[in-house]
């Protein structure tokens, strides 16, 4: 038990030490940003340093040795198997780009240089349209990653309930859209 406590203390110390590195980097960056040599005529805008979390990885393992084993790690995947990934055999249905948004097939997944649209709707089964093309249902599209640009987002609930908004997506930024469905009055 005492040994476990010691190990835990080592982990905490390690994390604390590693967290000091970005602080030192930040301090250096700030000292560079204070250089007054470059002045702009119009608005006075200083460059900023942003700190973001790339992700947290947590790992755990249990390993048991029952004898001499030089190579306990055997790799079950041979290179020949790579070509047989299920994605390459995925049966894409026929689609017309006029009705389905290209992102519909990629699941609007994250990629470099993209921006995120976080969509909040009251109706989970509402249909989502981007620039008039079908993108999917609301419950599958809580987070939509798109190329930078302007889009017309449309949420269509059951009946005449609709929400329409022009959205602008910038790379690395998140736009939150709260789509309150309102009944459309048709005359």
């Amino acid at each position: 038990m005492r040994r476990i406590n010691l190990q835990a203390a080592k982990v905490l110390l390690g994390l604390l030490f590693c967290c000091l590195i970005p602080l030192v980097v930040l301090a250096q960056e700030e000292s560079k940003a204070k250089d007054p040599s470059e002045e702009n005529s119009a608005p006075e805008i200083h460059s900023q340093t942003r700190v973001k979390l790339g992700g947290i990885s947590l790992g755990g393992f249990y390993r048991h040795y029952s004898g001499f084993d030089y190579y306990p790690y055997y790799y079950p995947y041979s290179s020949a198997l790579w070509g047989m990934m299920p994605y390459s055999l995925w049966p894409y249905p026929d689609f017309s780009p006029a009705f389905y948004h290209p992102g519909y097939y990629s699941g609007f997944s994250r990629s470099d240089g993209m921006g995120e649209v976080r969509l909040l709707t009251s109706e989970k089964t509402a249909a989502i349209f981007l620039d008039g093309a079908y993108a999917g249902v609301a419950e599958d599209l809580k987070s939509i990653w798109l190329e930078p640009g302007a889009y017309t987002l449309e949420v269509q609930g059951h009946g005449n309930e609709r929400f329409k908004k022009r959205i602008y997506v910038l790379s690395g930024k998140t736009v939150k859209v709260n789509a309150a469905l309102m009944e459309e009055v048709r005359r």
């Binding site: 982990v11 967290c19 970005p22 006075e44 805008i45 340093t49 979390l53 790992g59 790379s171």
Partner: protein
């Protein structure tokens, strides 16, 4: 002759359509719905200075870095069309000294894009691992036998580099589109018009600002801006 008239009508039809199209934002019900409003020579004008939070909520472009955003609406009399242009507006201090004129959305987008390109980004990737090994293990390097036990690991990956947010050419075009579409249009109209004006500012002079609206009239309207 009829042939010529027909062609002239066909040629002018798209122009009339263009003349009617306008950007901007939907105006509020009346000028009185704005914190600052006044009326002169048959034109009512309402204005509101957006707070930093409102700017963040209404725009994806980072206008809080060097710009003041003012929402302006003009309500002309139905009988009289007014000519509205960005250069009719001037931002002044409470003492009446000239502060700035609204910036062109294209210029604002270019400046914000350039600024975003000079930003730095520090990305952290922390990792923690814990494991347990049991049984005797022969170490082929040292030739000794090791008994299992608890093993732990911790680390942080740090990535430092230029910011990728809002710095690309596509981003600049998007910002330009957003600021133009939401901006107050240069238009001659008899309908209510609304849009945002982007005033470049240096320092923090947000209190007691005055918005002077020329609107081509002899006597300009002066509105005390309130958020």
């Amino acid at each position: 002759m009829n042939y010529l008239v027909r062609w002239a009508l066909l040629a002018t039809f798209p122009l009339t359509l263009l003349a009617e199209t306008q950007d901007g934002i939907p105006p509020r019900r009346s000028a009185a719905d704005y914190p600052a409003h006044a009326e002169v020579e048959g034109v009512a004008v309402g204005a509101a200075l957006l707070t930093a939070e409102q700017v963040r909520h209404n725009f994806v472009s980072d206008l809080n870095r060097g710009y003041l955003v003012v929402e302006v609406s003009a309500y002309p009399n139905v009988s009289e069309a007014i000519e509205l242009a960005r250069h009719h507006f001037v931002l002044k201090t409470a003492e009446g000294t000239h502060l700035s004129r609204p910036a062109d959305p294209k210029t604002v987008a270019a400046i914000l894009n350039r600024t975003a390109g000079s930003d730095r980004e520090v990305t952290l990737y922390p990792s923690v691992g814990i494991g347990y090994e049991s049984g005797p293990r022969y170490d082929p390097v040292t030739g000794t036998q090791r008994v299992g036990g608890l093993s732990t690991s911790a680390g942080v990956g740090v990535g430092v580099g230029p910011s990728q947010s809002g710095a690309s050419e596509q981003d600049r075009r998007t910002m330009e589109m957003e600021l133009s579409e939401k901006g107050l249009p240069d238009i001659k109209t008899s309908k209510p018009v609304s849009g945002y004006l982007y005033f470049p500012v240096t320092g923090k002079k947000k209190s007691g600002l005055l918005l002077e609206c020329g609107l081509g009239r002899e006597k300009p309207l002066v509105l005390k801006l309130l958020p």
